[in-house]
């Protein structure tokens, strides 16, 4: 079930979402790299770790895990998935 819209950074540990788009302010080359890594529109992303104190969060896409810092994760738009 698709739920509320927000950014990747707002995801909590263990929760999954679908990428719905990117903020217009994101540079084209950064967006390209994120898409190559799997953060494409429609991709299911799971937040596997959300360390506190503003440390980058870990996101699982397909069979890989990436760490994204807050300013970048805030530019990825998502729809949360609730089982």
């Amino acid at each position: 079930m698709i739920n509320s819209a927000s950014s990747l950074w707002q995801m909590r540990r263990g929760k999954s979402c679908v990428v719905t788009g990117f903020d217009a302010s994101m540079k084209a080359n950064i967006r390209l790299r994120l898409e190559e890594l799997g953060f494409r529109e429609g991709a299911v992303v799971t937040c596997s770790m959300a360390p506190s104190l503003g440390a980058p969060k870990l996101y699982q896409v397909a069979n890989s895990v990436y760490s994204l810092e807050q300013p970048l994760a805030e530019l990825v738009h998502i729809q949360s998935l609730h089982a």
Partner: protein, 613 residues
Amino acid sequence: MKKVLLVGSPNSGKSMLFNRMTGMNQRVANFPGITVSTHAGMCRDNHDLEVVDFPGVYSLQYISGEEEIAVKAFNDAVQAHPGEIAGVVCVVDSTRLEKGLFFALQVREACRAAGHPMVIASNMTDILSRHNMAIDAPGLSDRLGVPVVPVSARSGDGVKALVALLGGQIAPPTSLLAANEIAVDQNRLRNLAEDLTAEYGPKGDYLLKAHTKADQFFLNTVTGGLSFVFIMFLLFQSIFTWAAPLMDGVETLIGLAADAVLPWFDDGWSRDFVADALFGGLGSFLVFVPQIFILTMVVGLMEDSGYLARAAVICHRPLRSFGLTGKSFVPMLSGVACAIPGIYAARTIESPRRRWLTYLAIPLMPCSARLPVYGLLIAAFIPDQTILGGWVGLQGLALLFIYLLGIVAGLLVVAVVSRFDQAESDDTPFVLEMPPYRTPGVVTLIRNAWERSGDFVKRAGPVIFWVSLVVWVLGYMPNYGQDLGESWLGYAGRLIEPVFEPLGLDWKYGVAILASFLAREVFVGTLGTLFGIEDGEENIGSLADQITTSGLSLASGVAIVVFFALASQCISTLATLRRESRSWRLPAQLFVGYGIMAYVVAYLFYLLVGAVA
């Protein structure tokens, strides 16, 4: 001779496969972006093949200057005439197949266009088979029209089959992968990689679940922070506690060698030379090599286990507040072993600004060339005792504080410079792939540490020998070692003595510090030679005792340590910085700026410790 081009995503195991195929020992680690330039070597099992290892990239569409260099190098290589290349081997990590296949599909398209054969080396199959998983290599091979060879670069399984395949004739890929395929459409390739992984890849996510569990411990606010502090503490304690027996062994060996060799010489200049310059100068330096061995082994342990990437995540937020990034952590930690690989490792930082700021911090990291100096002065001033029930050694604790001094100084310098230089326009955000946790290979760790220590000795040894020779001749003449103070070196030393006098140092220490501008570790050898001449006896391997009895005060000892912690004396580091920054400006600024800072701060510490002690 035909070429084999090894390409793949970062941390797919290319370099380990390169080492397997060539018998060479290219640096490998469980961290993305370790290979930063191309390397070539002859294939061990087929001398008609030359294997070329390219830096790992996520895509043939580059987004940074360093990726551009790697991609252009690959594009230039595939311009070769068909027949000149035995095969382009795209290494994919079988445990993370989708990411690897996305890149492999791009490479396949490049090979199809250029008419070169291609092979997919499906690496890390040993990890899959350990969990009863596998990829459908024949199915994937049929689907893509290129051979897919399961290999394990770590165990060597499948490598002979890969080499045998490359030694024969492989047909280049010719067919498009699907009707109306648009090769340059990245989304189509990504979709295809996803479908191929679902159909032919390993089933189940056991590995990811296991890694997530480990991450929940190592990245947890409490356990992650505590384990980070504990691991760093262990690193510095190990340098003294684990290395001590080895150092004693080397010292004993040097003493035995001196006892065996010196009787061959009659009394006179030749005997004095061997005793003072060789055993006193070079020998004093060799005693500290075990510490460098232990340091590189422990850093290698962190790299291979996959912990280093987690440490980069933990450090990102604190480093960011100084103007750096979590990716600066690895170059800075590499700098703890040696600044040169640290500077090369900074190429993985996509942001030019943060890379430049990392360059400023690396020369202040407490590199292993400083270790002999610290080890010597700690042995001279800090008692070999333990506290807290024997768990904490005082000498290791002192070393930790000295290391922290360099690290804190590096961070403060970067913080100040980044405040003045606020240009954020070309900044690239922090994205780091988390490598899987792996059990480090003990043999590989020991071999790497052995080779890196050996490289260090080979690089520093000749410099120390020649400096020891020059220092010995200047200190021995014209009175044949009768009076060091009246030697040529004594006269020269007294000329520069006023510079070091404010730090409470006599001319001998001044000469040793000046000589260390060639390479820091020369300090120990020079001092060993000078004391050897002065003592006029074969007092080998007790330089720390000689320093203590020479009357050097604690305040002066601290001043030397502080000076070495902050000064940028290493010519090799400065030359590497020039090459990476493509200008002499940065190394010149660092040499002068850090030199002045080192002298002033050392003087302040001298006054402070002198007032307290």
